[in-house]
């Protein structure tokens, strides 16, 4: 006799697959947004902006799937927490896509002329944020809270880099008002990355919730 939860388990597994695929798409968008910035590639920025529709569609698909599971399987306990977490995580990943679009739009404005300083800290922030996104979704699927703990520590580093960049760019602007246009755009990009890290931290909170039943801010 087949396992009584076979259909249900397959539905839950599909939800995981969709979340991972959505995460990979958002991660690729973020990578390409930074590449468009670094290489002043307007065509790549436009192409990346167009891909936001794919991420949005994943979110709607996950929402529909979650509703179907609730309606047909009446999940309880960890299953229930997992379905609701998937909904919340999909919403956070969608925001990663939205901020990648914002970075692309800013990159297009910055592409008009060479940058007054080489990009160092922004690519560093991006690398950390991409890793955080991977870790958070990996933690969701593998139920590994240690990954989540590491991810939250990474958020502190992103916050630190953001504050450092903020101060540095403000100093540039004070010394040379000619730099204000570019510095403000760079400041915006660093702010977008910092916000992305916060959304990924929310994902970590949901993973913690699924595994422990406790919903709380993991930062203090």
């Amino acid at each position: 006799m087949p396992h009584p939860r076979r259909v249900f388990d397959r539905q839950l597994a599909k939800l995981d697959e969709d979340l991972l695929a959505m995460g990979r798409e958002a991660e690729a968008m973020l990578g390409d947004a930074l590449k468009a910035l670094e290489e002043r590639d307007i065509a790549l920025a436009d192409e990346t902006i167009a891909r936001d529709d794919v991420v949005d569609k994943y979110r709607f698909d996950i929402e529909m799937r979650a509703m179907e599971i609730i309606a047909t399987q009446q999940p309880a306990a960890r299953d229930l927490r997992r379905v609701f977490a998937a909904l919340s995580i999909a919403s956070d990943v969608e925001r990663v896509g939205d901020y990648s679009v914002d970075i692309c739009k800013t990159a297009k404005r910055l592409a008009e002329k060479p940058l007054f300083k080489p990009l160092v800290d922004i690519p560093r922030m991006e690398r950390i944020v991409v890793q955080m996104l991977r870790d958070s979704l990996e933690g969701f699927v593998s139920r590994d809270l240690a990954i989540i703990e590491k991810m939250i520590n990474d958020d502190d580093e992103v916050d630190h880099l953001y504050r450092y960049l903020h101060d540095e760019l403000c100093d540039f602007m004070k010394k040379d008002p000619e730099l204000v246009d570019q510095a403000v755009q760079l400041l915006l990009i660093s702010r977008y990355l910092e916000r992305i890290a916060d959304h990924i931290t929310n994902i970590g909170e949901r993973v913690f919730y699924v595994e422990t039943g406790e919903l709380k801010e993991l930062h203090q």
């Binding site: 009584p4 939860r5 249900f8 009446q74 999940p75 309880a76 306990a77 960890r78 299953d79 229930l80 927490r81 809270l145 989540i148 703990e149 939250i152 520590n153 958020d155 502190d156 916050d159 953001y162 910092e194 916060d198 931290t201 913690f208 422990t212 039943g213 406790e214 709380k216 801010e217 993991l218 930062h219 203090q220």
Partner: protein, 274 residues
């Protein structure tokens, strides 16, 4: 920015235990109560308190001891050969197994509704009046009052008030089950036990019974037994999970179905066994 420091996971997990208790004086109390059929132990040192005027749903798989617990409460097991028990099972502070307990009185105080409604082969009116008559109520006026009150409380009055003299067998399954409840209510019980009362009913009749139990639990102590976790979740109130004769976990339905404390409860309500 979300703050500065990451708190340790272990501390967060330790803090995550939240207790939720319901007050009210105890109506039913099992204290180290065990029950045996010969050498088979059906209940294992059960400790369980049900406050007055509350609703407790007992869920568990077949053989978990939930029906044995109900039957012990009004001593329906008394004639089963080879039974024995230890510990205490208190009703209003007095052990139902004390020598001076009159079983007939106990069964009036603790009414029982079974899985399949069994209407007596008589009219709707006579089905409800049967218990009070046996208790010596003979005044027609008083019997009329009792029958109406019981049928109103069982949410059946509006459907049958114009045909009280027709046979109870003409009622639908859901109506017959509410008639069973009216018969219990007619003898003025303190505790109402229900053993899988909706197992043969359609979804609408099931919801009517569940709603009725919530209303009745404001005036009576109601104990519902079900093998269906979804019903336990829907009925709300407190839920106790029995497994292999043990009480594994008890708490408000809302928290038990979102974050059960015991792995066995989790596995049962998520359909991994049972």
């Amino acid at each position: 920015m979300k703050g500065e420091k990451m708190a340790s996971m272990s501390r967060l997990q330790a803090e995550s235990q939240v207790e939720n208790r319901i007050g009210g004086p105890p109506k039913v109390e099992a204290q180290g109560f065990s029950f045996f059929y010969g050498k088979t132990q059906a209940l294992k040192s059960l400790d369980l308190t049900v406050p007055e005027n509350s609703l407790l749903t007992i869920m568990g798989p077949t053989g978990s001891g939930k029906t044995t617990f109900l039957k012990a409460l009004n001593r329906l097991n008394d004639r089963v050969p080879g039974i024995s028990h230890s510990g205490s099972l208190l009703l209003g502070g007095k052990d139902v197994y004390d020598r001076d307990v009159d079983v007939a009185t106990l069964r009036r105080r603790v009414g029982m509704v079974f899985a399949l409604p069994v209407p007596l082969p008589m009219s709707i009116y006579e089905n409800v009046a049967f218990g009070p008559r046996k208790r010596g109520v003979s005044s027609k006026k008083r019997l009329d009052e009792i029958v109406e009150e019981a049928l109103v409380s069982a949410a059946l009055w509006d459907e049958v008030k114009d045909r009280l003299d027709s046979s109870a067998h003409n009622l639908s399954g859901g109506q017959q089950q509410r008639l069973s409840l009216a018969r219990v209510l007619a003898v003025d019980p303190e505790v109402i036990l229900l053993d899988e009362p909706t197992s043969g009913l359609d979804p609408i009749s099931t919801l009517k019974i569940e709603e009725l139990l919530r209303v009745l639990s404001e005036r009576y102590t109601v104990i519902l037994v079900t093998h269906n976790p979804v019903q336990a979740a829907r009925v709300q109130g407190e839920v106790a999970f029995f497994y292999m004769g043990e009480l594994i976990e008890k708490g408000p339905a809302a928290s038990m179905f979102v974050r059960p404390k015991d792995k066995r409860t989790e596995d049962y309500i998520t359909g991994k066994f049972g």
